[in-house]
Symmetry: C2
Subunit: 280 residues, 2 copies
């Protein structure tokens, strides 16, 4: 069993919010995550898990502090796990930009120097973290995944490439077609190199267009999001869904922006969507 250390614990809606750090093999260093365990979770009653992937500049804390998800998770009996958004530490490569390096792992396995040593968030979120969670806490292997912005991209990519691992996927304001937008092109060039053919495996729209197996997908997007037309381009995702007849529900919302005020407004619908699929 890997060593795991609790950093904090707060009672929340009858359950517990806790932060942990542990030695990660995938990230070759210390990794941090937060977990919300609903009151129903016990040795005799394992609960399903929603993995939440946050966006650029975030840590394990943003979602847990700002989304207001614990109330609904406590009602539905779902655990929530929020990893950090990249490897961290002095020995980990970084970049002065907020959209590359620490806080901006993009949920890929980097192949290029200096990133390839630690930046393996794809493997971490797909395998190492769930293995640790399922060995440590009273949770089942029923998994759903969701995220925001860069994390919405990560959630969609993980579910589309691993439909057997997740019952459902959702996203708020995802970077829907990273190979065609500045955030994605900058990060993928750095982490994956200039061979753009290597980028397709991390592009939700390209993956959805060719999807064979289907994980039910829910996406919410604010129409007043300042990143909508330059970075997020959800039309690429809905076009892909139409082309492959993919079960995607995409909701556009008048007036909402890119902030956690938007996420908090609609997180209840996402949790109920996942609960429905996790119960099957």
């Amino acid at each position: 069993m890997p060593k795991i250390e609790m950093l904090s614990a707060n009672k929340s809606f009858g359950g517990w919010h806790k932060q942990y750090q542990h030695q990660s093999t995938a990230l070759d260093g210390t990794a941090r995550f937060a977990i919300y365990l609903p009151p129903q979770a016990s040795a005799n009653h394992k609960v399903p898990v929603l993995y939440w992937l946050s966006g650029l500049t975030c840590t394990d804390e943003n979602f847990m502090q700002k989304a207001g998800a614990q109330r609904i998770a406590a009602e539905l009996g779902i655990a929530i796990v929020a990893p950090d958004t990249s490897p961290r530490g002095e020995q980990v490569a970084d970049d002065p930009g907020y959209d590359l390096g620490q806080g901006a792992g993009f949920y890929v396995n980097a192949t290029q120097a200096p990133w390839h040593k630690h930046y393996r968030m794809y493997d971490y979120v797909l395998d190492e973290l769930p293995s640790l969670i399922e060995a440590t806490f009273p949770v089942s292997a029923q998994r759903a995944i969701s995220g925001h912005s860069m994390g919405g991209h990560g959630a969609l990519v993980l579910a589309l490439r691993n439909p057997e691992r997740y019952r459902s996927v959702s996203a708020f304001s995802p970077i829907s077609n990273p190979v065609n937008v500045p955030w994605g092109r900058k990060a993928f060039a750095a982490y994956l190199g200039t061979q753009t053919a290597d980028w397709a495996q991390y592009d939700a729209s390209l993956l959805m267009q060719q999807a064979q197996q289907r994980v039910p997908a829910l996406v919410d997007q604010g129409k007043a999001d300042p990143f909508l037309s330059e970075q997020l381009i959800p039309a690429a995702l809905s076009d892909a869904a139409r082309a492959s007849d993919y079960p995607l529900q995409l909701n556009l919302h008048e007036g909402y922006d890119h902030s956690y005020y938007f996420i908090a407004s609609f997180i209840e619908q996402h949790l109920r969507f996942h609960a429905e699929h996790l119960a099957r």
Copy 2:
């Protein structure tokens, strides 16, 4: 009309969270506040207002980002106004401690140098801010007040001294008897001077003990709060309520701490409590 400048706006649960700054007479400088306007608020439909006072180190942002109150305010049709916790700026006196000076106004009118020039949060929250709010936004003069820790102290003191101004008062983890605890004694000595008789007007337990008019009061306190026995001492408040037969409901909660995870868990009950009294 005083000049008022909008700093940000985010749609939230069908209403709007907005941040403003304005020139404050009471604080002799620029002051900042946040307001949540529920979807019901319009020129033809004025909504009541809950004033929220935050604790040490906080700004107008903590409650709005972390409490999850907008969902319930939107359902109930209540606006929420959250001022900053002190005057701010380079010209404003400060102290290296987190519990004195900027971020720690304690909702008093300071009488001592160097604090007396700007530190007049009592007047600001009681008079200037509501006047500005009621002249600027589609809200009624029906007011309730609540707060956390130092802000719970502030809310109780304001309501106990001005029962005609508030329909109801509530607090999370308030500094219940500041004249008898280190946080209160340090701040009151600095702001009000060493004549401890001058402190009583800002002590909720002393005020409640002698209260003539009654504002219905609800207080929630976590039993795992690390500040419980040294700084908060809610027993002083319940003793005072017993002595004056004051309508105080004090709930103690096993396992909960001093954080916003505690506030978020019980904010719904507070908003419903205030809605009931605001509707009368």
